[in-house]
């Protein structure tokens, strides 16, 4: 992959230099797509396959977007799955209450649960944000703890059972396809991704986030309200997670305290693979979106080989993650030390 730097087209070379990490992800996707085209063309390149993938990834894709925001500020959000499950369980209860005797939902039900989910997400995020910004608990601990707390509440209110007896209308609506082509889940993801892209690259808020992540001290001395920024970040993250939970609710047509427990580490993996620096201050949404797509393609592609155990997927994920980081080490070696020096302060 490094040999691509020798591409004769000058302009392309420039583009590659500007964002090596992004291009590396694109090359990886391209190589994998090519590999799939050679080996399993007829079973991989079908419309339904791509639609299924597009319906699957938004649930953890949305959570990853939240984790990314937190990581840009130098923190992390390990409570996303807890937030998602708690929101989906509470909304499932509301849906049960709204379901009429004939099994239908009133027209206002869908917008209502989504608005409530966003409000709930914001509230949970506020809690995380307060722990991080006001009480100065390291984010990794604060969110890990609150994640456990949310999961605990889920367990307490459901006794560990699945909540499912609500109208099928909800799941059917979300699992629908716009123009029979684009899954609704994907639309949620795109809206959120564009919104966060806009925030990060076009607004002052985004610039402030990067500054806060680069150096908290510098941000404070340049008059930024770090507390408010952190509160907003964690609220946004939890809102993303809550929406992810709503999509999980639709995909499983039920809610349960232990759905998606693997997503916590998976989200961190995606975000890091997407080129976000866990120390903070660096990272772009395009990288994260590409990483989500890459992982989904890898997993779905591998499933097309029945002989290969699906457990190899975690080997490949870990391998890809470490490979990308080592490649970054070789190309950005001189930056590594300054980053290191800052970290050790």
């Amino acid at each position: 992959m490094v040999s691509n730097t020798k591409n004769p087209i000058q302009q392309f070379q420039q583009m590659y230099r500007n964002d090596r990490h992004l291009w590396r992800l694109i090359f990886m996707i391209a190589i994998w797509m090519l590999f799939m085209a050679i080996t399993r063309f007829s079973r991989f390149y079908t419309m339904i396959n791509f639609q299924t993938m597009a319906a699957q990834f938004p649930e953890f894709g949305l959570m990853s977007l939240g984790v990314m925001l937190c990581m840009i500020t130098g923190g992390i959000d390990l409570s996303v799955v807890g937030v998602a499950n708690l929101t989906s369980i509470l909304m499932a209860f509301i849906l049960i209450n709204l379901t009429t005797a004939s099994g239908a939902l009133p027209a206002y039900a869908m917008p209502l649960v989504f608005i409530l989910a966003i409000i709930l997400g914001a509230a949970f995020g506020l809690f995380n944000g307060l722990l991080v910004s006001k009480f100065h608990i390291p984010p990794i601990l604060a969110t890990m703890g609150s994640g456990e707390l949310f999961t605990g509440i889920c367990l307490a209110i459901t006794n560990g059972n699945a909540v499912s007896k609500f109208s099928r209308t909800y799941a059917n609506t979300i699992n629908n396809r716009l123009f029979d082509l684009i899954p609704i889940q994907l639309i949620f993801f795109i809206i959120m991704a564009v919104f966060i892209w806009f925030l990060l690259s076009k607004t002052v808020f985004g610039t402030k986030l990067y500054l806060l992540g680069t150096s908290e001290k510098a941000a404070r001395f340049s008059g930024l309200n770090n507390t408010r920024l952190l509160l907003q970040t964690y609220m946004l993250s939890a809102i993303c997670a809550a929406l992810g939970g709503m999509i999980m609710l639709a995909n499983y047509n039920s809610a349960r305290a232990d759905y998606g427990t693997v997503y916590t580490l998976q989200c961190v993996l995606i975000v890091v693979l997407g080129g976000v620096n866990p120390v903070g201050g660096k990272g772009r949404i395009s990288g994260v979106v590409l990483a989500i797509i890459l992982l989904r393609l890898l997993e779905t592609g591998l499933n097309r080989f029945p002989k290969i155990s699906s457990y190899y997927i975690s080997l490949i994920w870990g391998g890809v993650l470490i490979l990308v980081m080592v490649l970054n080490y070789f190309t950005e070696h001189n930056h590594t030390f300054s980053r290191l020096a800052r970290r050790s302060k």
Binding site: L78, P138, I140, L141, M144, G145, A156, T261, L265, V268, L269, V272, P278, V279, I308, S309, Y311, Y312, I313, S314, L315, I316, W317, G318, G319, L321, I322, M325, V326, Y329, T336, F337, L340, A341, R343, S344, K345
Partner: protein, 314 residues
């Protein structure tokens, strides 16, 4: 370098340990009060034997956190090395004692730890990312390449070692008996070794120095890369040892039931007073025991709660 100073009350009040200890003590009293069975000999032995494995993991996580890193791969590492060991020994129909299994597991653990150490030390990649990746890789090797399933039979040497008791405690009221496994001595030895290492050797001090500031440690003449490498190898070995003990005590090798412990262990280590940023705190020695005490509490909730009348774990 800090030498052991006489403990004053004022100094103690600024540290985590007394508070953790008080909470722990209060909890013990509460449970004792509600069940009347907490301070019974068999319950105490049960708790001690339940804290061996998390305790060993915590010792490893403690070392890593002191150095300013974080390790989320140790459950996967332990699972892989112990699973590979057990599987291999079953395949060759091994009939001997415990020494060979432990040696093999330690060797595999050292190798896997070196894998972490290589990327974290030599390539200077963030520890969180590397261990996330390696945890995924280890799991993949175990479940994919080794095609892991639950092994209900383990080699006879491991089985007998796991069931051999140092002593047995019997509760005169309920008639329940509890065995203190021989592995508890291993735990104490590892704990003592790490305390000695962290307090009295240059290697231990260099881990603190790296946690304080990697650049300064380097300038002060510590070999940062080598220290990290050795440390991750040690952590890998400690985790593997914990894995072997777990398998011996459970009498079966379950590939995935250690996975997912990492976050609780890390939380416990931090509660025990280890600064997660790796600053130079006097966390050696005594805070260790308190970390383990946290485990006592949590294990106690989970495993012993239902056995004690009048107390249930929600």
């Amino acid at each position: 370098m800090r030498i052991k100073t006489p403990i004053s009350l004022k100094k103690l009040a600024g540290r985590n340990e007394p508070y953790v200890f008080l909470v722990l003590f209060a909890l013990c009293l509460l449970i004792e009060f509600r069940s009347g069975q907490f301070f019974s000999s068999n319950n105490l032995v049960d708790i001690a034997s339940a804290l061996i494995v998390p305790g060993l993991f915590a010792v490893g996580a403690f070392l890593v956190i002191i150095s300013g890193g974080i390790d989320v791969s140790f459950p996967a590492l332990a699972s892989l090395s112990v699973y590979a060991t057990t599987k291999y020994l079953l395949d060759i129909d091994y009939q001997g004692g415990i020494l060979l299994p432990i040696t093999i597991a330690l060797a595999i653990g050292a190798l896997l730890g070196a894998f972490n150490g290589l990327f974290i030390g030599y390539f200077r990649l963030p520890a969180l990312i590397v261990t996330l990746g390696s945890s995924s890789v280890f799991k993949g090797i175990m479940q994919g390449a080794l095609n892991s399933k639950q092994l209900t039979i383990i080699p006879v040497g491991m089985r007998t070692w796991g069931t051999t008791a140092l002593f047995t405690a019997r509760n005169p009221v309920s008639g329940l008996t509890s065995r203190m496994p021989i592995a508890f001595i291993v735990f104490l030895v590892v704990l003592g070794f790490v305390i000695f290492l962290m307090r009295y050797t240059m290697f231990g001090r260099s881990i603190y120095a790296i946690g304080g500031s990697e650049t300064s440690a380097h300038r002060a003449g510590f070999n940062v890369i080598r220290t990290k490498m050795v440390m991750y190898i040690m952590v890998g070995m400690i985790a593997s040892l914990a894995g072997v003990i777990r398998v011996c005590m459970m009498q079966q090798a379950h590939p995935t039931n250690m996975l997912g412990m990492e976050m609780n262990i890390i939380a416990g280590v931090v509660l025990g007073g280890t600064a997660i940023t790796g600053e130079l705190l006097d966390t050696s020695g005594d805070s260790h025991f308190l970390e383990e005490c946290i485990y006592r509490c949590s294990d106690h909730h989970r495993n012993r709660g239902e056995r004690l009348p009048g107390y249930s774990y929600e």
